[in-house]
C-alpha cells in the first residue's frame, strides 16, 4: 500500500471480497536524506510520511492490520546504487524494474511468506493467468493500455507470478477511481504519482551529484567533450551521467539542424551528438532475458518489441544466441533511440513473452 489510489483500491476490493488481508507499506528511501534536493521538505512524495499517513488511514477505514516494513538498505544496494552505476557507465537505467525484480517481488514476497500470507496483491496494471497447456503463468498487458505496466514487470519469475495478484489488470484507471469512490476509499481523488520515487523532480543528475556528496565519494572525472559523429569537438559537458541517448535539450550547442545525443562513452568521457536520423537503429542485443509466458526460445520468433515505456511495440524477429539469456532483435523498421540500459520487452499481441536489458 503506497498510499496511492491503486493499491488502496486493491486493498478495498480484497476486503470487500472477504479476503483475510494485511496491509503493508514498504519504506524504501529515507526522504530526509539529500535535503538540498527538496528545499521545501520531503512531503508529498513516495515513501514520505504523507503517503504512509494515507495508507494507514485507508487501512484504518478498512479495519485491516497494517505495517510499514523497512527495505531501505536493500533498496539502496539493489536499486539506487545500480541506478547510479548504470548512468556512470553511459547507460540509462530503469529503477522501477530493478525495484520490482529485487524488492517488490523478491524481498516483499519473502516478508509476506514470513507472516504466512499466501499471495501478494499490488496495484500494478498487468494481468496474470495460468496457462494449462504450457503449465506456465503468463503475463498479459493491462486492459487500460495507457496504464499498462508490463514494461516494468518483465523480470518476474514463474515462482513470483504464482504468488502475485494484480486485481486492477482488467480495469481502466477511471473505473478504478470510480470503484475507489464506491468502496469509500478516502483518497480516491488523490493525483497519480509520476516520477521515479526517490529522485525529486525527475532530476536524476542532481540526485547522483548529491548522493556522491553525501557518501563522500569523488565523482568520476566530471567534464568531457561533446563531439560530432565525425569526432569534431563541438563543446564541453559536465559529466556523461547528465546525458541520455535521444536527448535534445541541454546540449548548449548552436547548430543548423537539431542535435541529439547518439551515444555516451564513459571510457573517453565523450558525448556523441548527431542528427535525428543517426538515432535510427534496426538491430539490438538484449541480455539477462527472462522468459515469462513461453519457455526460452530455440528458434527465431516473431514478436513486437517495446524499447521504452512509452514506445509502441514494434514488429521484429527475435533470434536466440548461444547464450540462453541473450537474444538478438532485428526490427522490421529502424527504431529511434535504442538506449542501452533500458528494458526490451517482447510481446505476442497482449501476451508478454519475456524481456531483458538492452546491451
Amino acid at each position: 500500500m503506497s498510499g496511492g489510489v491503486d493499491s488502496s483500491t486493491v486493498a478495498a476490493m480484497l476486503h470487500r471480497d472477504g479476503k483475510n488481508i494485511v496491509g503493508m507499506t514498504m519504506q524504501l528511501w529515507n526522504q530526509r536524506r539529500l535535503p538540498e534536493l527538496v528545499p521545501d521538505g520531503p512531503t508529498g512524495r513516495c515513501c514520505s510520511l504523507d503517503d504512509v499517513y494515507d495508507a494507514r488511514y485507508v487501512a484504518e477505514k478498512l479495519g485491516i492490520p497494517y505495517y510499514v516494513v523497512n527495505f531501505e538498505k536493500r533498496f539502496e544496494q539493489q536499486v539506487v546504487k545500480p541506478f547510479i552505476d548504470e548512468y556512470l557507465a553511459g547507460r540509462t537505467p530503469i529503477p522501477c524494474t530493478l525495484c520490482n525484480n529485487h524488492i517488490k517481488f523478491d524481498q516483499f514476497l519473502e516478508m509476506a511468506a514470513g507472516v504466512h500470507a499466501d499471495y501478494v496483491a499490488t496495484g500494478h496494471y498487468a494481468q496474470i493467468d495460468y496457462h494449462e497447456a504450457s503449465g506456465r503463468y503468463r503475463m498479459k498487458r493491462a486492459v487500460d493500455s495507457a496504464k499498462d505496466q508490463t514494461y516494468f514487470l518483465f523480470g518476474l519469475t514463474q515462482q513470483q507470478l504464482s504468488r502475485t495478484l494484480f486485481p486492477l489488470g482488467g480495469m481502466t484507471k477511471p473505473q478504478v477511481r470510480e470503484l475507489a469512490r464506491e468502496l469509500n476509499v478516502p483518497i480516491y481523488s488523490k493525483p497519480d504519482s509520476q516520477e521515479i520515487c526517490f529522485v525529486p523532480n525527475g532530476d536524476y543528475a542532481a540526485f547522483i551529484d548529491s548522493y556522491f556528496k553525501e557518501q563522500g565519494i569523488t565523482p568520476p572525472q566530471a567534464t568531457g567533450e561533446i563531439v560530432s559523429e565525425q569526432g569534431t569537438v563541438l563543446g564541453e559537458h559536465s559529466g556523461v551521467h547528465h546525458y541520455t541517448v535521444g536527448q535534445r535539450k541541454g546540449l548548449g550547442i548552436a547548430a543548423k539542424e537539431p542535435l541529439y545525443v547518439i551515444a555516451t562513452e564513459p571510457a573517453t568521457q565523450r558525448v556523441i551528438v548527431g542528427s535525428g536520423d543517426s538515432l535510427l537503429r534496426t538491430n539490438m542485443a538484449v541480455k539477462d532475458v527472462n522468459w515469462i509466458s513461453v519457455a526460452p526460445i530455440t528458434a527465431p520468433v516473431r514478436a513486437t518489441v517495446r524499447i521504452r515505456n512509452k514506445h509502441l511495440p514494434a514488429p521484429a524477429t527475435v533470434m536466440p544466441t548461444s547464450d540462453p539469456a541473450r537474444v538478438e532483435v532485428r526490427f522490421d523498421e529502424p527504431q529511434r533511440a535504442i538506449t542501452p540500459g533500458q528494458g526490451a520487452v517482447m510481446y505476442d499481441g497482449d501476451v508478454v513473452l519475456g524481456g531483458g536489458w538492452i546491451d
Binding site: 507499506t25 519504506q27 529515507n30 516494513v69 523497512n70 514470513g114
Partner: protein, 347 residues
C-alpha cells in the same frame, strides 16, 4: 479530575485549590516512590521533556556533557546539540564508570547523563560508581530513569536530576516528572509563569499528574515485579529455538525485559507475525513512518546491523500470566522456525 475537579491549580478560588491539593498529593506519592522530597519533583509532559529540561537546563554556553552510546534518543539528540562526549559500551551493555571518568573534562563538564536501565536490553547501570566519578570532577549527574521506575527500587537522590515517564508505570501518556535535587540551579526551557517553582512554567497537567501519583502509589503498595515470568519466557524460548540466545543474560537486568536474538532471521516479520496473533513485541527502533530501524543500542554493543535486526524485545507487564507467557513461547517458537525455514542465504 477531568469532569469534577477541573480547576486551574494556580487559581485562588476553591476549584483551583482543590486541584492544587490533588496535584501536591500526587507529588508526595511520586516523591515517596523515588525516595526524595516532594519539592524536588517537577511535573513535565513526559520522559523526553524531562531529559531535555535536565540537559539544556544544566549545560550552559561553553560547557561540556558526557553521555553514553546506549541512551535513548531523548538524551542523545539533545546532547548532540552540545559539546558532548559519548562513552561506548561493550557486549554486556554496562557503562564502565572508568570510561565516564576519562570522558569528563574537570572544570568544563557540567553534566553526566546516564540511563538507569537500558530500554532495549533491560540492563541496570552502576549509578553509585558513576555518581562518585561525576561528583569527584565537579559535574552533576542526570539519570534517565524512564525504564527503571516501577521495575526496580529507585532512589533518585543517587543523582542530581532523574527523569520519569508516566506511561512506563501505568499512568497515561503525556505526563512525566523530573527530580531536581534541592540546590541544583536549573534554567527553565519555557517562560511565562511561575509554576513548578519557576522550573517548568505553564499550567500543570493536573489530571495526568494525579494519575502518575496514583500509579506511584500502586507500585509502592503492590511492590516490584519478580523475574519469574521473564525467566520462564526465556527458558521456554531457548528450549524450543536452538538458534536463539538472550542478549546480556549475564548482566544485572530489570525483571520484565528480555532481548532475544534469533540468529539468521529478521526481527521485522517476527514482530508482524506475533502481532497478528495478538502479541505486542518489538524489534529495533521505530522510525517516523513506523518502519523498523536497527537498534543503535545493540549496534553500540558491537552487534552488526544484521545481527541487531534479528533481535526481539519482549517486555512483560504486571498483569501477564503464566498461560499468556506459555502461549507467547509457542507463538515465538513457531514464527522463528517458520522464518528460519524461509531464511535466504543472504541473512
Amino acid at each position: 479530575m477531568l469532569t469534577g475537579q477541573f480547576g486551574n491549580a494556580s487559581s485562588i478560588h476553591h476549584f483551583g485549590q482543590t486541584a492544587k491539593q490533588k496535584l501536591e498529593s500526587a507529588r508526595r506519592d511520586l516523591a515517596a516512590l523515588l525516595q526524595c522530597h516532594p519539592t524536588e519533583i517537577v511535573w513535565t509532559s513526559g520522559g523526553t521533556e524531562s531529559n531535555n529540561l535536565a540537559i539544556f537546563g544544566i549545560v550552559g554556553e561553553g560547557q561540556h556533557v558526557v553521555t553514553t552510546a546506549i541512551e535513548h534518543p531523548a538524551v542523545l539528540e539533545p546532547c548532540s546539540r552540545l559539546d558532548v562526549t559519548v562513552v561506548p559500551v561493550g557486549a554486556s551493555c554496562i557503562v564502565d564508570p572508568d570510561d565516564v571518568r576519562k570522558a569528563i573534562r574537570p572544570g568544563k563538564t557540567a553534566l553526566v547523563s546516564v540511563m538507569h536501565v537500558n530500554n532495549e536490553t533491560g540492563v541496570i547501570q552502576p549509578l553509585d560508581e558513576i555518581a562518585k566519578v561525576a561528583h569527584a570532577a565537579g559535574a552533576l549527574l542526570h539519570v534517565d530513569g524512564v525504564q527503571a521506575v516501577g521495575k526496580i527500587a529507585v532512589d533518585a537522590t543517587v543523582a542530581d536530576l532523574y527523569s520519569v515517564s508516566g506511561h512506563k508505570l501505568y499512568a497515561p501518556k503525556g505526563i512525566g516528572a523530573l527530580y531536581v535535587r534541592k540546590g541544583v540551579k536549573l534554567q527553565p526551557r519555557t517562560f511565562g509563569g511561575h509554576q513548578e517553582r519557576d522550573r517548568r512554567p505553564g499550567t500543570e497537567n493536573v489530571a495526568g499528574a494525579v494519575a502518575l501519583g496514583r500509579a506511584a502509589r500502586m507500585i509502592f503498595d503492590q511492590g516490584l515485579p519478580s523475574p519469574e515470568l521473564r525467566d520462564r519466557l526465556e527458558r521456554g524460548v531457548l528450549e524450543r529455538v536452538p538458534f536463539a540466545s538472550v542478549n546480556c543474560a549475564g548482566s544485572p537486568r530489570v525483571p520484565n525485559t528480555s532481548n532475544i536474538r534469533f540468529e539468521g532471521i529478521e526481527g521485522e516479520p517476527m514482530v508482524i507475525a506475533l502481532d497478528l496473533k495478538g502479541f505486542a513485541v518489538s524489534s529495533g527502533a521505530a522510525c517516523s513512518s513506523g518502519a523498523v530501524e536497527p537498534s543503535h543500542v545493540l549496534t553500540a554493543m558491537g552487534l552488526s546491523k544484521e545481527d541487531a535486526r534479528s533481535c526481539l524485545r519482549i517486555s512483560l507487564g504486571r498483569s501477564n500470566t503464566e498461560a499468556q507467557v506459555d502461549a507467547l513461547i509457542e507463538a515465538t517458537a513457531q514464527a522463528a522456525h517458520h522464518l528460519h525455514r524461509l531464511a535466504p542465504v543472504h541473512v
